[in-house]
């Protein structure tokens, strides 16, 4: 057992925080969001130069070969800066699926392009009826003489408008909620038969709803010719949850620091707000929630390579803990900033909205509490 960061990890965390502080100010971010594309390709290039797009990708494909600890350090920094670039989709979820499912040829083709920043990817998984259930898939992939055709509807494809290719989860075999018979397809954006509706998301990013109408694909579009992809999709979702937990901790820490600083300087009734015990204790409660969330995220990080039940249970644990903590910290930060807290003139509300998004992406707090109950039943029965 060893719970200390290595020197390299410490340097990575420092570098990530420095980068965000220097390159991703509130004003810079606002400009990125208001640009036509809605994100910064310069920032993306710099991520590639820093090696962060290959953080979790093995060295043989040009990556740094890091693990969940390294990813967590970078994500916490990205959380501090409310970075909207599609790091989660392209540098965490997509490589995870490609590494878990892809053929050697697919890995060699796709992974180096991710590392180099040339290839942006997005996951098309959720469907209008699926809510958070990863096994609820009605988009159908049919084998044809020349390859595959895909038909169905996907919603909330995060980073969809920016993606060069989509990773589309589709059913090859079985009924709507069957765990078997699911595959992941690599689909070029704007393939004939695809209709995308692009929209902004509450946290400043962009997403698409996509209709697939008999979209024709070559045989090698299916990742690894794998028709039992659900376990890998679940693992990728867990990895995303764990990464977002660190991001949320970064968001919460900024909110607490900002709130403490504000209440120390804002004078009412002839004294700083922070002199009031009711506010002091509220901020102490925020700090406690953040410490717990940080610990819960670390717990999930360290379970990232464990057996699926342990890994998923830890990820759901973190989702619940971080979801509740994020809510509390964000709501109190807004409350303690008073009227200014509900305006777009302060960054507080933007952190609030990102924390709301994190709470929902890959499953709500209630969903994960229920998942934890079910996984615990398995653990306690063993």
């Amino acid at each position: 057992m060893d719970l200390s960061f290595s020197e390299e990890q410490r340097l990575l965390g420092d570098a990530a925080n420095r980068f965000v502080a220097g390159r991703y100010s509130f004003e810079a971010r606002r400009a990125f969001l208001q640009s036509p594309e809605g994100f910064s390709r310069d920032i993306w290039r710099e991520f590639a130069e820093l090696g962060w797009l290959g953080l979790g990708i093995p060295e043989e494909f040009g990556g740094l070969g890091g693990g969940a600890v390294e990813t967590g350090l970078v994500m916490e920094a990205l959380g501090r800066g409310l970075v909207v670039e599609p790091y989660l989709a392209t540098a965490i979820v997509a490589p995870y699926l490609i590494l878990a499912l892809g053929s050697p040829a697919q890995k060699s083709e796709l992974l180096p392009q991710i590392v180099g920043g040339q290839l942006l990817l997005a996951l098309a998984q959720a469907e209008p009826q699926s809510r958070f259930a990863l096994n609820d898939v009605t988009t159908i992939a049919t084998r044809t003489a020349t390859g595959w055709t895909i038909s169905g509807r996907k919603q909330l494809v995060l980073g969809g408008p920016w993606a060069d290719r989509l990773l589309v989860v589709a059913r090859i075999d079985g009924e709507r909620r069957d765990r078997g018979g699911i595959g992941v397809f690599v689909v070029p954006a704007q393939s004939p038969g695809m209709t995308a509706t692009d929209y902004p998301t509450l946290d400043g990013a962009r997403a698409s709803n996509v209709v697939f109408d008999a979209v024709a694909l070559p045989p090698e579009a299916l990742l690894g010719d794998n028709r039992e992809a659900l376990p890998a999709i679940e693992a990728a979702a867990d990895a995303a949850i764990v990464a977002m937990s660190s991001e949320a901790v970064g968001c919460m820490q900024v909110l607490l620091d900002t709130t403490v600083a504000y209440t120390k300087t804002r004078i009412q009734f002839g004294k700083p707000l922070a002199d009031n015990q009711v506010l002091k204790h509220r901020m102490a409660a925020m700090a406690v929630k953040i410490e717990e969330a940080r610990a819960s995220a670390l717990h999930a990080i360290l379970a990232a390579d464990a057996d699926p039940v342990t890994r998923s249970r830890a990820a759901s644990s973190a989702k619940v803990k971080v979801g509740r903590a994020g809510r509390f910290v964000a709501e109190q930060a807004v409350q303690l900033h008073g009227g200014m807290g509900v305006t777009e003139e302060l960054n507080v509300g933007f952190y609030f909205k990102r924390l709301m998004a994190i709470e929902t992406i890959f499953g709500s707090t209630d969903f994960h509490l229920q998942r934890h109950v079910e996984l615990s039943r398995a653990v306690n029965a063993a």
């Binding site: 057992m1 060893d2 719970l3 200390s4 960061f5 290595s6 990890q9 600890v69 607490l256 403490v260 209440t263 120390k264 922070a274 002091k280 204790h281 901020m283 102490a284 409660a285 700090a287 406690v288 410490e291 717990e292 969330a293 610990a295 819960s296 670390l298 717990h299 990080i301 360290l302 379970a303 830890a314 644990s317 619940v320 803990k321 509490l369 229920q370 934890h372 109950v373 615990s376 039943r377 306690n380």
Partner: protein, 398 residues
């Protein structure tokens, strides 16, 4: 960073398991389960304490030269988890975790030589003389007075909430030795023999029906000056050092996991399948497990930081605050699980030594008293409100 155990650590775990198998009696386990209050009584922990003493594991966290085991953080965690899992009694904290570390850090050589071995052997059973009827959270307002008379202090006053004073051989007490305007600078730290003439105790029954705490009266009690820790009027420094140990020492998560294990056994035996039948109980169990995972991670990280020479800081307040709240949530769930049986009042004590069979099945006997007694957990050792003050001041600079 890695949570898994090395082969050496796994070998140590086997060693601990083997020790527990050979030395933890069924009586000690049963007595522990049937001890609703924070700390079991001597008949429950006696044989376990003696066995640990012989092995050198009573106070493993003390410096090796004073009888500590020199364990790594992983070994500490393994030892505590295994003891909790096996249902071993919690050891009295007053000697091992409180006055022991103070004597080691601030005591004279003579005091170390005399007191420390007696703690390790179990010969001396200590209690804590901090709170007074007029001094709870505002500890520095304490009034129990020690007046110098030759080579003795003459102590007059009263202490309250004194856990196990009715069993204790010695008490460590904060006493006022000066009336300086800054109240903290007029306090001294004395080690007092409970058999001294002039000491009397009054039992205080708590709402769980247990006699755990007392009021202790000092009426012209003569205490040798050599029983003072460190310097006169510097007692507050030593007292604060002790409080940090009280809040931060030990492992809350392993104890909480034991509580959860007992709760699962209760559920299994009481109404087989109640968790399946009642979705809200299953959800509350998961919420608590999730809380414990976080607390455990904070503790492990803290241990690792301390090992690396970093100051743990006010995180011990976070652990005290949340650990006690989680413990309360578990005991409250226990009460909800047994339903109507939570209205059955068992007035007899000790629960592990009843002469006539109780109304309730044995597995339920301690559920209600434990719930009621645990209400004290967010009050003693610095209330939750004081912990918020500490966190606001030390973590946030407020």
């Amino acid at each position: 960073m890695d949570l898994s155990f090395s082969s050496e650590e796994l070998a140590f775990r086997d060693e601990v398991r083997d020790f527990i198998a050979k030395n933890l009696s069924e009586d000690a386990r049963r007595g522990t389960r049937l001890s609703p209050s924070a700390i079991p009584e001597k008949p429950v922990f006696g044989s376990w304490y003696t066995a640990l003493g012989k092995r050198g594991w009573v106070a493993p966290y003390w410096p090796v030269e004073h009888g500590g085991a020199g364990w790594s953080p992983a070994q500490r965690y393994i030892f505590e988890s295994e003891c909790s899992r096996a249902g071993a009694p919690r050891l009295l904290p007053f000697g091992i975790h409180m006055v022991g570390p103070v004597i080691i850090k601030f005591g004279s050589q003579q005091q170390k030589d005399f007191y420390l071995p007696r703690i390790l052997s179990g010969e001396d059973y200590w209690c804590q003389g901090y709170s007074e009827p007029g001094s709870g959270s505002d500890l520095a307002s304490l009034k129990t007075r020690a007046v110098r008379d030759g080579d003795h202090y003459v102590v007059n006053g009263t202490k309250i909430w004194t856990t196990h004073a009715h069993f204790a051989d010695r008490i460590f007490a904060l006493v006022r030795t000066s009336d300086t305007p800054k109240r903290q600078e007029g306090i001294s730290f004395l080690l007092i023999d409970m058999k001294s003439p002039g000491i009397s105790t009054r039992p205080i029954l708590t709402i769980g029906g247990d006699h755990e705490v007392n009021q202790v009266f000092f009426d012209d009690v003569r205490v040798p000056v050599e029983n003072r820790i460190g310097e006169e009027n510097k007692g507050w420094t030593y007292a604060k050092y002790l409080l940090e140990f009280e809040r931060g020492a030990g492992f809350r998560a392993t104890g909480l996991r034991r509580q959860m294990k007992e709760l699962r056994e209760l559920i299994a035996q009481h109404a087989g399948g109640i968790v399946d039948a009642d979705a809200s109980i299953a959800s509350r169990m998961s919420e608590i497990e999730i809380d414990i995972d976080a607390i455990e991670m904070i503790e492990l990280k803290l241990l690792s930081d301390v090992q690396a020479g970093r100051n743990p800081g006010p995180i011990s307040s976070v652990l005290k605050l949340r650990g006690t709240e989680i413990s309360q949530a578990i005991t409250r769930l226990g009460v909800d699980v047994i339903g109507y049986d939570a209205l059955v009042w068992e007035p007899r004590r000790p629960l592990y030594g009843l002469n006539e069979p109780p109304v309730l099945p044995e597995i339920e006997l301690a559920v209600l008293p434990a719930h009621l007694d645990t209400r004290a957990a967010t009050i003693y050792g610095g209330t939750s409100e004081i912990q918020h003050e500490v966190i606001a001041k030390q973590m946030l600079g407020l």
